[in-house]
Amino acid sequence: MNDLDCRRFVELVTAFLESALAPEQEQEFVDHLARCDGCDRYLDQIRQTTQALDGLPGEALSPEIRATLLDAFRHRPR
């Protein structure tokens, strides 16, 4: 048995995903993951969260604003 419990696990998820855990801690994390379905699900949901954010639409500029800006660029005083 090691010290890493679920309460601690959930705080380490991003560090794990960023490969920022010390080797020993990473081993504990992976060990816990292997035997805890709750934390396995938690990790997966954090992954899903980042994926959902990745799909957030970023709208292009409207043609009007784009034209205004290109015009402003063109006529910028030297």
Partner: protein
């Protein structure tokens, strides 16, 4: 996506009034700028105006840009400042997430009992995308949720997860350490996950 020219080339071309260079950055960065602006202000229209104001400031300031940060960081910094000013004039939700404390409600874990520190109940399962999740509704929820985050968490999350910036780039923009950046990112992700959990739980029972 094609690589943008290196900063040195881009900046020189922008100063030389090279329209194709301006079009390149304008079209490449505007969607991300708009998404980030939207997390500070309360309407899409307002966000579009902030982006316009930002580009005008870029046009006006490019000759004086000293290149101490990357061009993109400089543009995003102008955007954040502009959006912040605008956001504080508009009535905005007070952040309900905080910068410290546990990211998951402590009551979800056993205190004493046979397995201290372990879940009482596992987080509820989420529907898989094939189960017809209301995509638009989720996106609206995510946008609203971003606005409830404290500023630095919000910026980190929008840049890292929505815009695909590296942690180094975010550290440069915000002037924070890698460890600090990671904490902000984690807090923000955990908060958004919690909101999605609430949403899916309500969906399942309604």
């Amino acid at each position: 996506m094609d690589e943008l020219p290196v900063d040195g080339d881009l900046i020189r071309r922008l100063r030389d009034r090279d329209e194709s260079a301006f079009t390149l950055v304008l079209d490449r960065w505007s969607p991300g700028l708009r998404r980030l602006a939207r997390t500070f202000v309360s309407t899409d229209e307002s966000a579009a105006e902030v982006v316009q104001e930002t580009w005008l400031a870029v046009i006006e300031g490019i000759d004086r840009f000293e290149g101490r940060s990357s061009l993109r960081t400089w543009v995003y910094r102008i955007l954040t400042n502009t959006a912040k000013r605008r956001g504080s004039r508009e009535r905005r939700v007070v952040p309900i997430s905080s910068d410290d404390g546990p990211t998951v409600d402590p009551s979800r874990f056993q205190e004493d009992g046979p397995f201290p520190g372990h879940w009482w109940e596992f987080p509820p399962a989420w529907p898989t995308p094939e189960q017809g999740v209301l995509r638009h509704e989720v996106q609206e929820l995510l946008t609203q949720t971003l606005m409830q985050l404290p500023e630095r968490q919000r910026v980190v999350l929008a840049l890292r997860d929505a815009d695909g910036w590296s942690s180094e780039e975010v550290c440069e923009l915000l002037g924070v350490t890698a460890a600090n950046q990671r904490v902000l990112l984690h807090r923000a992700r955990a908060f958004v996950r919690g909101k999605l959990e609430q949403y899916y739980t309500q969906e399942a029972t309604s």
